[in-house]
């Protein structure tokens, strides 16, 4: 296991809300990637996090770009670096709205073309930057500003959509598990061709949790099986770290839901639906890991 470097590429401080775990995740992404890295950022909290022109808190170059264009821009950049013989890492760091909804076709195109890059979706399960509207990644029962009674639709399964592209490396990660995230970014960047990492990032204002709770809530997401840590290298799935134990024994889902104000009004029926989806996801992952599907 590589040692996590002390270098920081987010200078004190970003404009992120106190306790923002998207900033925590990005801290470790950049530690793993190092200085020879370019970030491509579509509109999201991370656009604002950088600070105010003519200054930026980010110590690596950032290309801020329109929602629908992030993965296409990264494709061009990656080709340009390659043609100059450069090994610069090209990383898209995009929100869930920018990934599962607005940027999905450019992403699909870049994966299909075999672009040598890493696409990271940091998932705070809503459109955070514009005031927490629901996104395709918002789970059932969660209150957002556009679903004040709780979302009635299912969270879009972006991981299985990405998996259908058969890319060399794909993983899930969590801001509450920085070492696992660091290792996965290292692996992704060492793998030629496209990689995708989906990071769960609990968000204090959006999830209606106190600013000291994102790491605790992120860990609880894993302990309840609501979020599963895994990676798939050239089609071989491995369930990682704490999620291995969860496959055998997990905490009740309500221990995750009850920590968060956004699930206050969730109905019994919706809790059952979440339970069912969660169980089905765990069963499918277990089968895949065992080579049964």
């Amino acid at each position: 296991m590589a040692e996590i470097p002390e270098d920081e590429y987010l200078l004190k401080c970003t404009t992120a809300c106190a306790g923002c775990s998207a900033a925590l995740a990005l801290r470790y992404v950049l530690k793993a990637a190092g200085p020879d890295t370019v970030l491509v950022v579509p509109a999201c909290c991370t656009s604002v996090l950088q600070g105010i022109y003519p200054n930026t808190a980010f110590a690596v170059p950032v290309y801020n770009i329109a929602f629908a264009a992030a993965a296409a821009c990264a494709s061009g950049m990656s080709e340009a670096f390659a043609s100059e013989g450069k090994k610069t890492n090209v990383i898209v760091f995009a929100g869930d709205g920018g990934t599962v909804d607005i940027g999905i076709q450019a992403l699909s195109g870049a994966l299909e073309r075999g672009t040598n890059f890493l696409y990271i979706c940091y998932d705070n399960e809503a459109y955070g930057n514009t005031g927490m509207q629901r996104s395709g990644a918002t789970p059932i029962g969660a209150r957002t500003t556009t679903t004040p009674g709780g979302k009635t639709d299912t969270k879009k399964d972006i991981d299985r959509i990405i998996a259908a592209h058969n890319i060399p490396y794909q993983a899930t990660a969590s801001a509450a598990h920085p070492k696992d995230l660091f290792e996965k970014v290292k692996t992704a960047l060492a793998t030629p061709g496209p990689s995708f990492i989906h990071i769960l990032v609990p968000c204090p204002p959006g999830w209606r949790i106190p600013s000291d709770m994102p790491v605790t809530v992120g860990k609880m997401a894993v302990k309840t099986g609501m979020w599963v840590l895994w990676e798939r290298k050239y089609g071989e799935l491995t369930i990682n770290g704490p999620s291995r134990a969860v496959m055998k024994k997990r905490l009740p889902l309500k221990e995750y839901l009850s920590l968060q104000g956004r699930f206050k009004g969730i109905t019994e029926k919706q809790v059952n639906e979440l339970e069912q989806q969660l169980g089905k996801n765990l069963a499918m992952l277990a089968k895949e890991e065992a080579g049964e599907c």
């Binding site: 004190k12 401080c13 970003t14 925590l24 801290r27 003519p54 600013s211 605790t216």
Partner: protein, 81 residues
Amino acid sequence: MSDPVAMSRPRKGAAGKTGTWRTFRPVVDREACNACGLCAMYCPDACIDADLEIDLEFCKGCGICAQECPKKAIRMDREER
């Protein structure tokens, strides 16, 4: 010469002195601390250094360090301003 494109440059304090955001200040009890480093690992803003000194000029007072400390060695004290 001015930049040919609108380009920001990296600088500490690009978002101002974020320590002014704080309503609670983390205080480490060195007696109780076992130097595990988890507080520094989880600080989203990298405000805790290798010697576990907290940079109060920038610490936003989120309290994650206190919440995640296994020794309960960090207290959050209300700021008097």
